[in-house]
């Protein structure tokens, strides 16, 4: 099983200033990319939505 390349930019060996700079770079990049979108935050996983998957319903429904 291969591992994903998770580039952790906040390693303990990292330079604080560099980390802040990188964050600002991403802030600007995604700010420029931003389009109108109907949903600002979508819950993917949470204790409220985790439930035994059943054919008759999507998540959040424990019973048919």
């Amino acid at each position: 099983m291969t591992q994903t390349q998770l580039k952790d930019l906040t390693t303990t060996k990292g330079v604080e200033g560099t980390t802040d700079q990188e964050r600002r770079k991403f802030m600007e990049k995604f700010g420029k990319l931003a389009l109108v979108t109907p949903v600002a935050v979508t819950a993917l996983m949470s204790p409220h939505t985790s439930a035994a998957p059943k054919s008759c319903g999507g998540n959040g429904r424990k019973k048919c």
Partner: protein
């Protein structure tokens, strides 16, 4: 597409981003959220300790969105910075008979129970109404087990009302369904066996979908109900591919697939398509779900044995559509890690235990290692041909 992971100054939040979108993991809520581009930008600004006015002014320097729009998004994003934990945990999703499970129960010799086993979890089932008992024990006969002690005892009692018989299902003494008509009982039983079987095993996470041994690897078919999973699974099974499950992709902590050996539920729309491959479908009893869908059950010819995934894996989300599609080109769309996670969780998922950062990273690593695609098709031949092409 590899994800970039960013720890924030608010240490209970971690960002994961690709080129287009992102996710934020909230450590204390143990929750994962998908973020469009603007929300990523806002989170990074809020994380610097800026107030609302400062955040909006900063983002407005490079965003084409209006101040009003930015304020609306800000108000949706800022609750993520509430560090309070949730009042419930993932373990609360366990079925009650599991939460109260203490020890196996003895099954008396010559008792009116049918005993069976699914993924090393054992059941004794009985029903007061003989025709129902005969139907259940006949349908489940391939997973019969001659056992004296079981994990779960399922009892189906009958109540006569003015109009008809109604049934109540209990499991280990707990009432789990009541006021059921005859046609609804078996789907509830099969669902219960399936869910208790994986919940009682040492699983990490499960998704709604099918898992099949395909050529020298594994095919995962996640997706919402009605997408074509079970029909494709039945066709693949008939072509000699062993099945892990047609309903639940259950992954253990070591990313093994759990084999849940139970009959496949085929909805009415696919009966005529599958009858040539499964002649028993023609005379099989029709059962119902509360949403009105009718289904019949068939057994695949072989099930896969639990095994560590070491061969190639492909994740394909089937999307059956009646729209006219060029027969030479079924549509396949590659999915990013974040899109795959959105698809998997939207279709139905369950985590066994608390979601830690380390566990999330392992799940992300698994999805990133598996090619993921959505396959849109309108005939089964199209789908089978496309699966073959994707596998090359």
């Amino acid at each position: 597409m590899a994800l970039t992971k960013l720890a924030l100054k608010h240490t209970f939040l971690t960002l994961y981003i690709d080129e287009q979108q992102g996710m934020v993991f909230h450590h204390t809520k143990q929750a994962l959220f998908q973020l469009p581009a603007i929300s990523i930008s806002l989170i990074l600004a809020i994380d610097e300790g800026l107030n609302q006015k400062q955040v909006i002014e900063k983002i407005a320097q490079f965003s084409k969105l209006s101040t009003k729009q930015l304020v609306a998004y800000y108000q949706k994003v800022v609750p993520l910075f509430d560090a309070k934990a949730e009042l419930i945990g993932y373990k609360d999703g366990q079925y009650p008979e599991l939460q109260q499970f203490k020890k196996k129960q003895q099954v008396r010799v010559n008792s009116p129970y049918f005993t069976c086993q699914v993924a090393n979890v054992t059941f004794a089932i009985t029903a007061e109404f003989s025709p129902l008992f005969i139907e259940i024990s006949t349908l489940l006969s391939p997973c019969t087990a001659n056992i004296a002690e079981v994990d779960f005892v399922i009892e189906i009692t009958t109540q006569l009302t003015e109009k008809e018989q109604q049934f109540t299902i209990t499991c280990n003494g707990l009432m789990i369904e009541s006021d059921l008509n005859f046609d609804f009982v078996v789907p509830h039983i099969i669902d219960r066996l399936q869910i208790l079987a994986f919940q009682k095993n040492d699983y990490l996470i499960c998704f709604h979908g099918a898992a099949i041994q395909y050529k020298k690897g594994y095919l995962l078919l996640p997706g919402h109900s009605g997408a074509g999973k079970s029909t494709l699974t039945a066709l693949l099974a008939n072509n000699g591919h062993p099945i892990y499950s047609d309903e639940i992709i259950a992954l253990t902590n070591n990313f093994q697939l759990l084999s849940l050996q139970l009959p496949i539920a085929i909805k009415s729309g696919s009966w005529s398509l599958l009858e040539p491959s499964y002649p028993a479908l023609k005379n099989a009893l029709v059962w119902q779900r509360e949403d009105g869908r009718q289904l019949k059950y068939i057994w695949p010819s072989q099930f896969a044995i639990d095994a560590e995934i070491s061969g190639k894996i492909q994740l394909v989300s089937p999307n059956y559509t009646l729209l006219n599609i060029d027969e030479t080109r079924p549509l396949t769309q590659c999915l990013s890690v974040i899109d795959t996670l959105m698809l998997l969780t939207k279709g139905g998922y369950q985590l066994a235990d608390e979601l830690t950062s380390e566990k999330l990273d392992r799940i992300i690593a698994f999805i990133d290692a598996v090619p993921c695609a959505q396959l849109t098709f309108s005939t089964s031949d199209q789908a089978m041909s496309a699966l073959d092409s994707l596998w090359q």
